[in-house]
C-alpha cells in the first residue's frame, strides 16, 4: 500500500490524535485502590443478594407430579392406552396461603421441544392465516404435513404433539363438597404472538368454514376450530396452542396453563388448605421417560422463584469481602518490609 503524498508541505499536523497524544488513563492496581474496591463490592453485593434471596423465598411455589409411573399414584391407571378418556384426582395441601395472582403451569421433563427436527416442523405462514399455506403447508412439516390427502392444519410436529391434558383445581373446604377454583384461560400468551404471529385464515364468521379442506393433526382429538368455544380464543389464536407453539429451550420446561386472579385484597387467592387436582389424562410421556407436573406459583418484582441469583450475589460479595480482609492483613504485615510500598495485584 504505497502512500504517495503530493502535498506541498508534508509536515504532519501537530494534533493530539495524529501524534497519538490523546488523553489516556490506565488503572494502576495498588493496595490503595484495590482494597477499597473489594470492600465496596462486598458491601454492595451482600445486601443485594440478601434482598433477592428473601424475595425469592417469599414466593410460594408448589409442584405436583402427576405422571403416575409409581403404582401408588392415582394416575397410574391412565398409563395404559386403553382407558380413554382417563380421569384421575390428586390431592395436595397448601401449607401457606398464596397471595396475589397465582400462575398455574404444566411442566414436562425429558421432552425435547428444542430438537432441531422438532423446532423446524411448523409453517409460520400457515399459522399467520395465509390461505395458500393453509391448504399447502410447508415441506418442513413432514411427516405431519398431510393426512389422507388432506393438508393438516396446523401442520408439523409441534402442533401435532400439543399438550392436551385438562387440569382443574378444587378447594376442599370443611364441608366435603369441593369448590372449583376459577381458572382464566386468556392472557397467558404473548401479545405479539396472539395478535401478530398467529391469525386465523380469512373468511366468514364460521371458523369451520375457514378451515375447510384441511384435516386435524393426527394426534388431536378435536380439529383446531373446536379448541374453545370463545371465538376470540379459537383456531390458531387459541392461547393454549400459542403457548405450546413457542418451543422451550431446554428438555425440562414449564408452560403457563392458567391464571388464578386475585379476587380481593382481603382474601388470599389460594388460602391454605386441602386441594384436589382433577386431571383428564391424555398426554403420554412415559414412553420417553418423561414426567408431567402441575405447578402453582406466585410472582414478585423479580419474576418467579429463583434462589440462585440471591445466592450468587451473596457468594460473590462474601468472597470479595473476605479477599479484601486477607489482602488488608497481608498489606499491613508486609508494608514496611518491601520497598515497593504497594503490593500490586
Amino acid at each position: 500500500m504505497a502512500m504517495n503524498y503530493t502535498a506541498k508541505t508534508r509536515r504532519p499536523d501537530n494534533t493530539a490524535f495524529k501524534q497519538q497524544r490523546l488523553p489516556a488513563w490506565q488503572p494502576i492496581l495498588t493496595a490503595g485502590t484495590v482494597l477499597p474496591i473489594f470492600f465496596i463490592i462486598g458491601l454492595i453485593f451482600i445486601p443485594i443478594g440478601i434482598g433477592i434471596f428473601v424475595t425469592s423465598n417469599n414466593i410460594r411455589e408448589i409442584e405436583i407430579d402427576y405422571t403416575g409411573t409409581e403404582p401408588s399414584s392415582p394416575c397410574n391407571k391412565c398409563l395404559s392406552p386403553d382407558v380413554t378418556p382417563c380421569f384421575c384426582t390428586i390431592n395436595f395441601t397448601l401449607e401457606k396461603s398464596f397471595e396475589g395472582n397465582v400462575f398455574m403451569y404444566y411442566g414436562l421433563s425429558n421432552f425435547y421441544q428444542n430438537h432441531r427436527r422438532y423446532v423446524k416442523s411448523r409453517d409460520d405462514s400457515q399459522l399467520n392465516g395465509d390461505s395458500s399455506a393453509l391448504l399447502n403447508p410447508s415441506k418442513e412439516c413432514e411427516p405431519y404435513r398431510r393426512n389422507e390427502d388432506k393438508p393438516i392444519a396446523p401442520c408439523g410436529a409441534i402442533a401435532n404433539s400439543m399438550f392436551n391434558d385438562t387440569l382443574e383445581l378444587f378447594l376442599i373446604g370443611n364441608d366435603s363438597y369441593p369448590i372449583p377454583i376459577a381458572l382464566k384461560k386468556k392472557g397467558i400468551a404473548w401479545w405479539t404472538d396472539k395478535n401478530v404471529k398467529f391469525r386465523n385464515p380469512p373468511g366468514g364468521d364460521n371458523l369451520e368454514e375457514r378451515f375447510k379442506g384441511t384435516t386435524k393433526p393426527v394426534n388431536w382429538l378435536k380439529p383446531v376450530y373446536m379448541l374453545d368455544s370463545d371465538p376470540d380464543n379459537n383456531g390458531f389464536i387459541n392461547e393454549d396452542f400459542i403457548v405450546w407453539m413457542r418451543t422451550a429451550a431446554l428438555p425440562t420446561f414449564r408452560k403457563l396453563y392458567r391464571l388464578i386472579e386475585r379476587k380481593s385484597d382481603l382474601h388470599p387467592t389460594l388460602p391454605a388448605g386441602r386441594y384436589s387436582l382433577n386431571v383428564t389424562y391424555n398426554y403420554p410421556v412415559h414412553y420417553f421417560d418423561g414426567r408431567k407436573r402441575m405447578i402453582l406459583s406466585t410472582i414478585s418484582w423479580m419474576g418467579g422463584k429463583n434462589p440462585f441469583l440471591g445466592i450468587a450475589y451473596i457468594a460473590v460479595g462474601s468472597i470479595s469481602f473476605l479477599l479484601g480482609v486477607v489482602l488488608l492483613v497481608i498489606n499491613h504485615k508486609y508494608r514496611n518490609s518491601s520497598n515497593t510500598a504497594d503490593i500490586t495485584i
Binding site: M1, A2, M3, Y5, T9, R10, R11, P12, D13, N14, K18, Q19, Q20, R21, L22, A24, Q26, F111, Y112, N114, H115, R116, R117, Y118, V119, S121, E142, P143, Y144, A157, N160, S161, N219, A249, L250, P251, P284, Y287, F288, D289
Partner: protein, 934 residues
C-alpha cells in the same frame, strides 16, 4: 531475441512478429475477467476458501443455519476487498491509457509523423524533445548537441534526480535531421530484456553505402530508458529496442515478493489450531449423538418422528452429514472478519507512522514513508539490525579534509561545508615545503584529482543546487552520483585547480594561474565496487598521455611500482583510524603504442556480447598496473546526529546491531567507536584476511570461539553469583574476503561446520562489524542470520543502491531517504529521513503495533470461542440435533458488525505504556517474548 534485420538494404523495417507493441499494461484485470480472476485470487486465501466451503456445505446439506448466515459475511468481505482492488485497478487502467495514448514523434521515410505511443514498434525511430519522457527503451542515435550527448534524469525510475549523461552511438551522432536519420541503415543486436536498469549489452552494425559494416558496442550509456526524462537537450533521435512490457521499467514493476510478518504466520498457526478444535468438537458431538440416539425413544419419540426418506438413509451418510452440520454450526469459531479487521488496523495504523511529527525531517522536508503496512508489528520484534555505514550512520555529506602528496600533508585552509571563502587559495603546509620535483608532483596530483572523476558541471545556477562555488563570477554546481567525488573536486578547487567542464571530449581545468588547461578525454574506466577504483586516460595539450587512477588503498597499493608507498600508507592508515574516507591516487604515463594497445583491448571487451562485464574487468585489470603513486586524499563523512544515541538505545533494547559496510576496516572501526557500537571496554576480535593469512581459517575460528565461549562460560557463572554488572562484551570485525572463505562450501562438504562456528561467535558478540562487503555479501549475511536456529527477526537499514539486496532480504527493510538516490527507499518497506528516527520507529511504533496486533488477534479468537462454546454445550441439552442457540441475524452480524469496531479502535489507540516512557527506557522493548503473540 535477436533484433536481426535483413542486412542492407533492410533499413528501418522491423520484424513484425514476436515483439509486443508499446502498450503498457500495469493493470491486473480487464473488464470481463475482473470477477472470475478477482474471485480466484481472493479464494486463494485459506480463510476465504474455508468459508466458501462452509457456505457450499450449507447449500448442499440440511444444516442448522441458513446459508445466509455464513454467505452474507463472506459476501461482505469479498465485496469490500473486490471493490478496493477494482478501484485500484481502475486507476491503473486510467494511468495506462494516458500513457499509451500520449503522442510520440516518429520518423518514417525521413518525415516526422505523430502517432500514439502504443503503436510504437521495435525498430521505429523516435524523436524526443526536451522534458519529454521516453516512450520506450531507446538506443540513443543522435542529439542536437554537437558532442552526441544528452542529459536525462531517471527520477521516476530510481529516484535519482541528478542528471546523467548518455552518449550517442559514435557513428550515428552526426545525423541531425529527420532526413539524415531516415537514411540510416543499421541493425542492432541486443540481449533479452532483463530488469537490471544499469546493465545493457548490445551491438549495432551500421551499414554505409560501400564499406563493410561498422560494428559498435552498445552499453547502458547508449540506452535511454522508458520513464526517464530528457533534460538540457533540445531533441534526440533514438531507435526503439524494447517496447511495452519488455521495457526495463515494466520489467522492474513486477512486484516484489510479498513479505509476511511473523504475527501473520502465527495467525495461520492459530487458525489451524482452531480448525482442529472445530473438527474435534464436531467429531465429539457426532459420536455422542449416535450414542445418545441408540435408544429408539430418544431418536424418534412419538411427538417427533422422522420422514420415511430420513429413516431409510444410510447410517454412514447420515453420520457424515451430521458431522458436516456440526462443522457448520461451530464454524463461527474461525473469525471470518479477522483478516479484514487486521488489514484495516494495519493500513490505518500505518498512518500514525507517517503522521509522526518526531520523525519528520525539517531539512529535507521529508517524513517517514510506509511502503507496506503489513509489517508494522514486525518492527516490535526486531532482534538483529543490519545497518549500512555510509549515508546511514554517517551523513554522507563529504568534506575534503586533507591530502597527502609524497608524504607531505596539505590541508585546505578553510573548511566549511561547501562554502569556500575568497582567500581559500592558500594551503597550509604541515610538512616542509616541497622541492621542485615535489612541486611538479603536486600539480600532477591536483590535476589527477581534477580529471579523474565522472562529475558533471551543471552550468545554470538553478536554486536546487546545494553546493555552489563562486568561481570568477560564474557559478557552477557539481553533480555526481558519488558525493566523494564532489567533495574531492571541490577540495581541489579550494587548492587552486578548478574543473570547468567537459566539452567535446576535452576536460577543461582552470589552474592556479587562471590558465585554462585542456585535456582530451580518451577513455574512462568507470568505477565499480569490485575493483574499487576508477581510471581515466587523458591526453594533455602537449600530447602526453596519462592514465590517472583513483581508488581505495587496498586496490591501488598492489598495483603501484613507484612512489613513496610507505609514507603514504602510514598517512592513509592514520586517517582511516580517525574515521576519514581515504582514496589513493596514482598515475602512469603512457606512450602512444601502449595507448593503442589499450584501445584495442577495451574495444574488444566492449563489443563482446556475452560476459562483457567479465571481459571488461579483465581488460581493466591489465591496464591499471605498474602505476606510480602520487598521494592520498582524506574525506570526512560526519556521523548523523544522534546516531550514537540511537545505537546505544537499540543495544539497550536487546537488539544486536551489525554494521555492514563497503568501507575499509580502520575507517569503519573508527565510525563504530564514534557511534558507540564499540565501547572502550569492548574486546575486539578480528577475523580478517590478514589474520587468516597468518593462521589458517580453521585455527582462527576455533581460537575465537574458544575465547568467546570461555567468556560466556564465565558469564553464566557471573549470573549465578549475581555479579554480572560489568561483563566484558566482545566486538567482532570481519571482512568480506574472510566471510567469503567462511561461506564458501569446501570440497569435503564440511562447510556447515564453519558457518555454525561463525554464527556461534557472532551470537556471543554484542556488536559485529563487517567491512569490505559487496552488496551481495550483505544480503548473504542477513540470510545467514535469518535462517539460523532461532529464526530471529532481522531488520536491514541502508540508503544506497548497494543496500537494496539486504533490504529485500531482511524481514523488515528500512530505507534512509538519503543522498545516494532513492533506490533504497523505493525498495524498502519503510523509509525514514534519518537514522535517528529508527529509535522511535522501533521502540515506540514497533512496540505499540506489536502489542496492538497481538491483542487484536487474540481478542478475535477469544470472542469467537466465547461465542461458540455455549453453542457446543447446548448440544448436550437439545439431543445433539445441531439446534442453534442464537438467532440467525445475531450469528450473521456478530462478527462483522457487533464486535469488530470496538476492538479495531482499541487496536489503533492502545498505548499500554506512554510514548515518553518507551523512549526513555529502551529495555522495555526486550520484554516482548519473541513472536508469541504478546
Amino acid at each position: 531475441y535477436v533484433g536481426h534485420r535483413e542486412p542492407p538494404p533492410g533499413a528501418e523495417a522491423y520484424i513484425p512478429q514476436r515483439y509486443p507493441d508499446n502498450r503498457i499494461v500495469s493493470s491486473k484485470y480487464t473488464f470481463w475477467n475482473f470477477i472470475p480472476k478477482n474471485l480466484f485470487e481472493q479464494f486463494r486465501r485459506v480463510a476465504n476458501f474455508y468459508f466458501l466451503i462452509i457456505f457450499l456445505v450449507q447449500l448442499i446439506i440440511d444444516t442448522p443455519t441458513s446459508p445466509v448466515t455464513s454467505g452474507l459475511p463472506l459476501f461482505f468481505v469479498i465485496t469490500v476487498t473486490a471493490i478496493k482492488q477494482g478501484y485500484e485497478d481502475w486507476l491503473r487502467h486510467k494511468a495506462d491509457n494516458a500513457m499509451n495514448q500520449c503522442p510520440v514523434h516518429f520518423i518514417q521515410h525521413g518525415k516526422l509523423v505523430r502517432k500514439q505511443s502504443r503503436k510504437l514498434r521495435v525498430g521505429d525511430i523516435v524523436m524526443v524533445k526536451e522534458d519529454e519522457t521516453f516512450p520506450c527503451d531507446l538506443i540513443f542515435l543522435s542529439s542536437n548537441r554537437g558532442d552526441g550527448t544528452c542529459h536525462v534524469t531517471t527520477a521516476s525510475l530510481d529516484g535519482e534526480s541528478s542528471h546523467k549523461t548518455h552518449y550517442a552511438v559514435q557513428d550515428t551522432k552526426g545525423f541531425h535531421t529527420e532526413e539524415d536519420i531516415g537514411g540510416l541503415h543499421a541493425t542492432i543486436e541486443c540481449e533479452q530484456p532483463q530488469p537490471d536498469l544499469y546493465k545493457f549489452v548490445g551491438r549495432i552494425n551500421v551499414y554505409s553505402d560501400l564499406n563493410d559494416p561498422v560494428v559498435r558496442p552498445l552499453g547502458s550509456e547508449n540506452l535511454l530508458l522508458r520513464g526517464a526524462t530528457l533534460k538540457n537537450t533540445e531533441k534526440i533521435f533514438g531507435v526503439a529496442i524494447y517496447t511495452g512490457m519488455e521495457t526495463k521499467m515494466a520489467l522492474n514493476y513486477q512486484s516484489k515478493s510479498q513479505k509476511r510478518s511473523a504475527v501473520e504466520k502465527s495467525m495461520n498457526a492459530f487458525l489451524i489450531v482452531y480448525l482442529c478444535i472445530l473438527i474435534s468438537k464436531a467429531l465429539i458431538n457426532t459420536v455422542l449423538k449416535y450414542v445418545w440416539q441408540s435408544e429408539p425413544f430418544r431418536d424418534e419419540p412419538w411427538y417427533n418422528q422422522k420422514t420415511e426418506s430420513e429413516r431409510q438413509r444410510n447410517l454412514f451418510l447420515k453420520a457424515f452429514t451430521d458431522f458436516l452440520a456440526f462443522m457448520v454450526l461451530f464454524n463461527y469459531i474461525i473469525p471470518v472478519s479477522m483478516y479484514v479487521t487486521v488489514e484495516m488496523q494495519k493500513f490505518l495504523g500505518s498512518y500514525f507512522i507517517t503522521w509522526d511529527e518526531d520523525m519528520f525531517d525539517e531539512e529535507t522536508g521529508e517524513g517517514p514513508l510506509v511502503n507496506t503496512s503489513d509489517l508494522n508489528e514486525e518492527l516490535g520484534q526486531v532482534e538483529y539490525i543490519f545497518t549500512d555505514k555510509t549515508g546511514t550512520l554517517t551523513e554522507n555529506n563529504m568534506e575534503f579534509k586533507e591530502c597527502c602528496i609524497e608524504g607531505h600533508v596539505y590541508v585546505p585552509h578553510v573548511i566549511c561545508n561547501g562554502q569556500v571563502l575568497p582567500e581559500s587559495s592558500g594551503i597550509d603546509m604541515i610538512d616542509s615545503s616541497p622541492s621542485v620535483n615535489g612541486r611538479e608532483r603536486e600539480e600532477l596530483f591536483f590535476r589527477a584529482l581534477c580529471l579523474c572523476h565522472t562529475v558533471q558541471v551543471k552550468d545554470d545556477d538553478s536554486v536546487d543546487g546545494p553546493r555552489k562555488s563562486p568561481d570568477g563570477g560564474k557559478s557552477c554546481v557539481y553533480i555526481s552520483s558519488s558525493p566523494d567525488e564532489v567533495a574531492l573536486v571541490e577540495g581541489v578547487q579550494r587548492l587552486g585547480f578548478t574543473y570547468l567542464r567537459l566539452k567535446d571530449n576535452y576536460m577543461e581545468i582552470l589552474n592556479r594561474e587562471n590558465h585554462i588547461e585542456r585535456f582530451e578525454l580518451l577513455e574512462i574506466l568507470s568505477f565499480d565496487s569490485v575493483r574499487r577504483r576508477m581510471s581515466v586516460i587523458v591526453k594533455s595539450a602537449t600530447g602526453e598521455i596519462y592514465l590517472f587512477c583513483k581508488g581505495a588503498d587496498s586496490s591501488i597499493f598492489p598495483r603501484v611500482i613507484e612512489g613513496k608507498v610507505d609514507q603514504i600508507r602510514a598517512r592513509v592508515e592514520r586517517n582511516a583510524v580517525e574515521g576519514l574516507r581515504t582514496l589513493c591516487v596514482a598515475y602512469k604515463r603512457l606512450i602512444q603504442e601502449e595507448y593503442e594497445g589499450i584501445c584495442k583491448l577495451l574495444q574488444a571487451a566492449k563489443v563482446a556480447l556475452q560476459d562483457r562485464e567479465k571481459k571488461l574487468a579483465e581488460a581493466y585489470e591489465q591496464i591499471e598496473k605498474d602505476l606510480t603513486l602520487l598521494g592520498a586524499t582524506a574525506v570526512e563523512d560526519r556521523l548523523q546526529e544522534k546516531a550514537a544515541d540511537t545505537i546505544e538505545a537499540l543495544q539497550k533494547a536487546g537488539i544486536k546491531v551489525w554494521v555492514l559496510t563497503g568501507d575499509k576496516m580502520e575507517t569503519a572501526a573508527a565510525t563504530c567507536y564514534a557511534c558507540k557500537l564499540f565501547r572502550r571496554n569492548t574486546q575486539l576480535l578480528e577475523l580478517t584476511t590478514k589474520r587468516i593469512e597468518e593462521q589458517s581459517l580453521h585455527d582462527v575460528l576455533f581460537e575465537l570461539s574458544k575465547t568467546v565461549l570461555r567468556h560466556s562460560g564465565s558469564l553464566t557463572r557471573d549470573n549465578l553469583s549475581g555479579l554480572s554488572a560489568d561483563m566484558q562484551d566482545y566486538g567482532l570485525i570481519i571482512d568480506g574476503a574472510a566471510l567469503s572463505l567462511i561461506m564458501k562450501p569446501r570440497e569435503d562438504g564440511s562447510s556447515g561446520n564453519y558457518r555454525e562456528l561463525f554464527l556461534e561467535i557472532c551470537r556471543s558478540c554484542s556488536a559485529v562489524l563487517c567491512c569490505r562487503m559487496a552488496p551481495l555479501q550483505k544480503a548473504q549475511i542477513v540470510k545467514l542470520i535469518k535462517f539460523s536456529k532461532e529464526h530471529p527477526i532481522t531488520l536491514a537499514i541502508g540508503d544506497g543502491a548497494n543496500d537494496v539486496s539486504m533490504i529485500l532480504e531482511a524481514h523488515v527493510g528500512i530505507g534512509v531517504i538519503g543522498k545516494e538516490g532513492r533506490q533504497a527507499a523505493r525498495n524498502s518497506d519503510y523509509a525514514i529521513p534519518k537514522f535517528k528516527h529508527l529509535k522511535k520507529m522501533l521502540l515506540v511504533h514497533g512496540h505499540f503495533y506489536y502489542i496492538r496486533i497481538s491483542e487484536l488477534v487474540q481478542y478475535f479468537f477469544y470472542k469467537n470461542v466465547c461465542f461458540i462454546f455455549p453453542q457446543f454445550l447446548y448440544q448436550f441439552f437439545c439431543g445433539f440435533s445441531q439446534q442453534t442457540l442464537y438467532d440467525t441475524a445475531y450469528l450473521t452480524l456478530y462478527n462483522i458488525s457487533f464486535t469488530s469496531l470496538p476492538i479495531l479502535l482499541y487496536s489503533l489507540m492502545e498505548q499500554h505504556v506512554g510514548i515518553d516512557v518507551l523512549k526513555r527506557d529502551p529495555t522495555l522493548y526486550r520484554y516482548h517474548p519473541p513472536n508469541s503473540l504478546s
